[in-house]
Amino acid sequence: MGVAYLARRVFYGLISLLILSAIIFVCTHLLPGDAASAILGEAATPEALATLRARLGLDQPVLLQFAHWLGGMVTGDFGVSATLNQPAGAIIAGRFFNSLALALGTIIVAAALAIPLGVVAAVKRGSRLDGAILTASYVGISIPDFIIAPVLIILLAMPPLNLFPSSGFVALGISPGDWLAHTILPVIALTFVLTAHLLRQTRSGMLDVLASDYIRTARLKGLPESLVLWRHGLRNGLTTTITVLALDIGYLMGSIVIVEEIFAYPGLGRLIVYAVANRDIPLVQGTALVIGAVYVAANILADFAHALLNPRLAQQ
């Protein structure tokens, strides 16, 4: 595996994060009025504002402020939440692991459903089965998370079934059973959309593979169709699926914002909504950067996996 290739990928990832942090910084400095006036309110005297600005470093040039802020982010100092009066880093870290549990559960379930269905749809391309799978995935993509979630609540969290709590959270360390009960509904809601998305991507990736020259060669050699599919097709189809899965992490992070809010699940998504609604700038900045970093990291990991499965690519 080409070390240079991987080093380059990591380098590009870091450049992406640097640019992203600049964008986050700009977005959070667009608003009229700065952190000082937000903290002190409208009745603040000019003298008090000036003092606080000096203390927060807001009287310095913007570039210097950005460098200072970025330096903090890199060393793990995310600043202090303006509304919760706690270090933003600590809040974000706790929420991060809650969201990670949701994301991992969703990815595992969605992959287990979507990959086989996508492969079957591709192999049976144009058949009734393919049509049915495609149509179902279409409906899945078109129904927003904020509709799926209440429907799930109606079906599973209300009488007569009443299987799960409709919202809230219990820490894993306190009661694993309650933790699981509170995690299942959000995972089902997230799985719904992700499966539909992933299935379509797997299908088209697999179609490309099945149309490639080496599959034709394998067929022309007279290999049994099952061998062609499982040994030749799936191995390469899988590399595509891994890439797609990594791309879908971004998609998933978007869904998490809505789903966590609906189920009152304390993760990154609910945190960023809270931070935006309350204009808690350090919290917005930290959460957005962490979400971006997750996506960048997922794509680098996918490239690593890709390079392992397909060494030719890494040598290019």
Partner: protein, 285 residues
């Protein structure tokens, strides 16, 4: 691809045509209903009727009533334009930002292109909804801000897709000929290249309208888009969800409206993509 896809061209084409028809029908129905809502609703959308709160669907109230006894159908009709304007407005804005950048970078290439694309990649690494939330932090809460946020957030995707098409088109003979004639760069970009990259723009645009309707409703749902007492479909779903344990009927109207509109715009875009023989955003057919 050609050898294998030829036998499939028949069913595929037919499916595309059906997608296009259904999509167009749903899209037009959503637009018509929203326009109707501007001039006529069975009841006044904010008319409170405390005797008939949270009523199930009936002949008098097709989608039932909400927690104040307001007619849900009337509110769906009256709020429709807000939801659709979010979709169309954000997409139009996204294209207005993305198109000139895509034409310039795809045409000139070189260092500028490299730098811009690094920016675009960084922007694409943040989910659209989260990007929109960031912009809302900068602009504040409200419907115009939501349109701006979703439009800006959609533009990197447009740059990526359109730039790809521009690069393909820029190597064609008519562009070489236009350069040889000594046409100005802007002329080549907007008179020669633009007409030839219109198909992917139209397809991605219509698919994005569906996404933006969904994103706009999501922002309203989160309390960051349209502000009550004004109501679009997202606000209505939020309000309905708060009383879900008492009655889930108020959810039905806005949920149906939003799902059918999104399916409509998606099918329309997908059908067009098949009709025009285009590849999807990942470059696949």
């Amino acid at each position: 691809m050609t050898a294998l896809s030829t036998p499939m061209a028949g069913p595929r084409r037919r499916r595309g045509a059906r997608y296009l028809e259904i999509g167009l029908a749903l899209t037009l129905a959503a637009i018509a209903a929203s326009l109707l809502g501007l001039v006529y609703t069975p009841y006044a959308p904010s008319q409170v009727d405390l005797l008939h709160r949270l009523a199930p669907p009936s002949l008098a109230h097709v989608f039932g009533t909400d927690r104040f006894g307001r007619d849900v159908l009337s509110r769906v009709l009256a709020g429709g334009w807000r939801s659709l304007v979010l979709g169309f407005g954000a997409t139009g804005l996204g294209l207005a930002i993305g198109l000139p950048i895509a034409l310039a970078t795809g045409y000139y290439r070189g260092y500028l292109d490299q730098i811009v694309m690094r920016f675009i990649d960084a922007l694409l690494s943040i989910p659209t909804l989260v990007f929109a939330l960031l912009i809302i932090v900068g602009l504040g809460v409200g419907e115009p801000q939501a349109i701006l946020a979703l439009g800006i957030a959609a533009s990197p995707k447009f740059v990526r897709i359109i730039r790809g098409a521009v690069i393909d088109a820029a190597s064609q003979d008519y562009v070489v000929a236009a350069k040889a004639r000594g046409e100005r760069d802007l002329y080549i970009q907007y008179r020669e290249l633009l007409p030839n990259v219109l198909p992917p723009i139209i397809v991605e645009g219509s698919v994005n309208i569906g996404f933006a309707v969904m994103g706009g409703a999501a922002l309203s749902y989160l309390g960051l888009g349209t502000q009550p007492p004004h109501a679009d479909w997202g606000v209505m779903i939020n309000e309905a969800q708060q009383y879900i344990s008492v009655s889930f009927w108020p959810l039905l109207g806005p949920a149906a409206a939003i799902c059918l509109s999104i399916i409509g715009f998606n099918l329309f875009g997908e059908g067009l993509r098949d009709r025009l023989h285009l590849r999807d955003s990942l470059g696949r057919e």
